[in-house]
Assembly symmetry: C2
Homo-oligomer: 215 residues x 2
Amino acid sequence: MERKEISQAVISRLPRYYRYLGELRDDGVERISSQELSKKMQVTASQIRQDLNHFGGFGQQGYGYNVEYLYVEIAKILGLDQEHNLIVIGAGNLGQALLNYSNFSRRGFIFKGIFDHNPKLQGTKIGELEVRPMEEMSAFITKNNIDIAVLTIPKTGAVKVAEKLVECNIRAIWNFAHVDLHVPEWVQVENVHLSDSLMKLSYNSSRYQDIKNAK
Amino acid sequence: MERKEISQAVISRLPRYYRYLGELRDDGVERISSQELSKKMQVTASQIRQDLNHFGGFGQQGYGYNVEYLYVEIAKILGLDQEHNLIVIGAGNLGQALLNYSNFSRRGFIFKGIFDHNPKLQGTKIGELEVRPMEEMSAFITKNNIDIAVLTIPKTGAVKVAEKLVECNIRAIWNFAHVDLHVPEWVQVENVHLSDSLMKLSYNSSRYQDIKNAK
DNA sequence: TAGATTGTTAATCGATTAACAATC
DNA sequence: TAGATTGTTAATCGATTAACAATC
């Protein structure tokens, strides 16, 4: 597949393209030009063409892009043509919420297990799955071919658990714990720091008020 | 306060500085140089100094930065010195998870209400709050001085609700719905598109395997 | 064929890093 | 005072946008 390093800025935009193309497809749209898409998505047509051309020439001069085809191709680029096996670590509210969010499994992200160190939660059912004790995690990962671990435990435990996951040869960690994980380069970490996001919103809205008042 | 437009790249890094400074403070560290902090955070010292100087000169030549002082100043910049009143719209798993996450209220983000259009949920208690019907939302926002609305409903309803929120003069929307909201410039939107984040992780881990296999 | 629109190169813009004079 | 380290300017790097030749 791809050889050259592609910037994370580009990667971050792919899911959004994918979403818009999915909507177009559902609306029965067959073809779209970068210009039309650009208007819809509020980005430049240039950027769309540049971004896509990192991965290949999906369009056709004088025609534009075939929606269905491009949709499928982006799915492949994102690895959505393959199934991913996930486990959730931390059966709190957030872990449960993610597990129950059906849209993920629709895209091939299959939750295989959920773990918690709280004995009171162990054995209770969340969706289809029973909460397992942490001790079973390592064996479970190997046995069930787990790709991705979802970390929804408080930051105090997260670093230790991440180390354990690395030992288990996990490939990817979706990290909701409010701490930076240090892992070998062959383990991918995607952080969702909710409080950072909320603070950013707080800044932007506070600042807007200041500007308004200053005028 | 600030006049000049500061890039979102800078703003996005502030919460992370804030987190590291908080930890240093808790560890009883009094002063830190940009170089030391740079090593800890794995960013360049230059970037730290540049970023901070957008907001003022918080350091002192030959000394570095006073941890406690800088911590408090960043909090002010982020608007954490003021309380924010929030409502959650959508009492599903995710809405409940956010509401129950106590770290937010510790930073001054106070959940005042939660709304859902499902009559079965209305009246049930989530944390300290009773789920209210959507019809009460507008009045509630005005009466309780709500700054921030947290949108945790499916995308089908999100656009309509966002319009309503704009009418209610909300300042900020924390959007977990998988759709782009179009709002006037005086309303800030911060998106948390979880599936986009997961797809990015999927890409990065799939791609790493490809590189490895190619070698 | 003529018109449309891509793929791609070149130009611009912005963000990051380096360097150093100012100063505690 | 001498050493350390900031604040800030200048240089570099990378990402975005513009332009246009290639081509469907």
